[in-house]
Amino acid sequence: MSEIIQQPAHHVKLPEGSIGKQTTTLNLGPTHPATHGVFQNILEVDGERIVSAEQTVGYIHRAFEKIAERRPLYQITPLTDRLNYCSSPINNMGWHMTCEKLLGVQTPKRVDYLRIIIMELARIADHLICNSIVGVDSGAFSGFLYVMQYRELIYEIYEEICGSRLTTNIGRIGGFERNFTPAAFQKLDRFLAEYPGVLKEFIGLFERNRIFMERTIGGGGISAERALNYGFTGPNLRATGVDYDVRVTSPYCSYEDVEFDIPVGSTGDNYDRWQVRNEEMWQSLRIIQQAYDKVKAFTGAEAEVYHADVPEYYLPPKKDVYTKMEALIWHFKIIMGEIDMPAGEVYHSVEGANGELGFYLISDGGRTPYRLHFRRPCFIYYQAYSELTTGSMISDAVITMSSLNLIAGEMDA
């Protein structure tokens, strides 16, 4: 018998007159259709009600932190793709900015604004999945299918810029690998024109829907104090009423140049989390519009800038590699990982789609990081799952899981 059976959680009161074990042990996961990823929960249930839950994580652990110790900086970007793969561009940019902080690279404003556009598109794509999955888990499938078109459009924009869709490896240290193409801007125009209407309809499907409200209000709630103690960040923390957003408290990538609000909830339950994410999508649209206007304001040579001038870290264009000596040397040095970086310790964090994504990079002056640690938001807040679900029904626990926006890739690193 497992440990939890012998010692039921002390805060649970069994009905009077109970003798011994009257509960059932249930394995939810690791590969259950309702868990959207590799999560295992060993539930102790009394009928339909959860008495205690114990999570097992690590099924897709890939030792990224170890691998990173043998790789030059630019080869670590693809590892970050595979953390939160619903919004890989944010991870990529966060990593580039960490490197830039260590190396002392200043990026041009146009690069910052282009990055903001991409990061906010990624945030929308991520929230879109999370919120529509909450809908699916409460029995409403159409919203999910409907918004997929627009996630597809976002992925097409990525594709125009970096060539890939899910694990994007987008951008380089110092900027982007190539300028945004006219097609990318056309798709962005289309997105900005069509998406607000779609989001409005999507919200309309759920917001005042009685079934949805009754399924989500009051489920999986947490107080602000407990949430902070559990290390919640991102929309999950904001749903409890704490207005902590890395984009505002420690602005990076010129976020201080754009104006937006931080939506907050009050009860921290599934409905509040869902609402906060929706409002964040509106805010992201606002941010994209502002950043896009700023990009359009650049003229002449400035409008062609898409990376900083850092030959030590930024791969030269292939055309130059074939024809110019200097470019060939840099190309060779970068590809072979022969560039020493300055010694130092950097912690840099970005507002990922599900919370504060941090990179703690220690360099001893070598060519690869001495140590790299990822602060993965959902690994940290998933601990609270057992507290969030104890006492609730199994079907509510499934909604709680999807509304926390847990991404197995990020959790297990």
Binding site: V57, G58, H61, A63, E65, K66, I67, E69, R70, K101, L102, R226, L228, N229, Y230, G231, V242, Y244, T249, S250, G344, E345, V346, Y347, S349, E356, G358, Y360, I362, Y370, R371, H373, R375, F379, I380, Y381, Y382, Q383, A384, D412, A413
Partner: protein, 168 residues
Amino acid sequence: MELTPEYLQNRLTEKFGDDLRSVETTYGMFSFEVPAALNLKVLQFLYDDPELQFRFLTDLCAVHYPDQKGRELAVVYHLHNLRKNVRIRMKIFVDILQPDVYTATALFSSANWQERETYDFYGINFVGHPNLKRILNVEEMDYFPLRKEYPLEDQTRIDKDDEMFGRG
């Protein structure tokens, strides 16, 4: 009171005297070291003090420095005062032969899994932890993989049969 590095250093020196070591501010973050036995006292002080209020544990991880005899393993805490928006970094060093560190789970619920992860990869024994067992690796594992004595494969090794790897 603004939490400048000087102010933080003064307050900590006032309280802990010579136990405060290696104070520096790198890349905008105030960073210091304290003896391993004092980690909880310092965390509690930083948490409770009405001026300091470092009540958010952002990150907890370990680092292995095999060349520092007697202090091979470092545990690094990143703390955040959300009200005043100041981040600090606290380090403690322990001997790899006896890596005992008091757990911070009583102060921060978020330390629970992060300490388990740190134990899993570095073998830091968090004294008083409610459930100190491996979290990401398999339970049968009998070593701590992120320590430096387990290097990744040398990419230039030549003892492999190249034909098997398309290099023959």
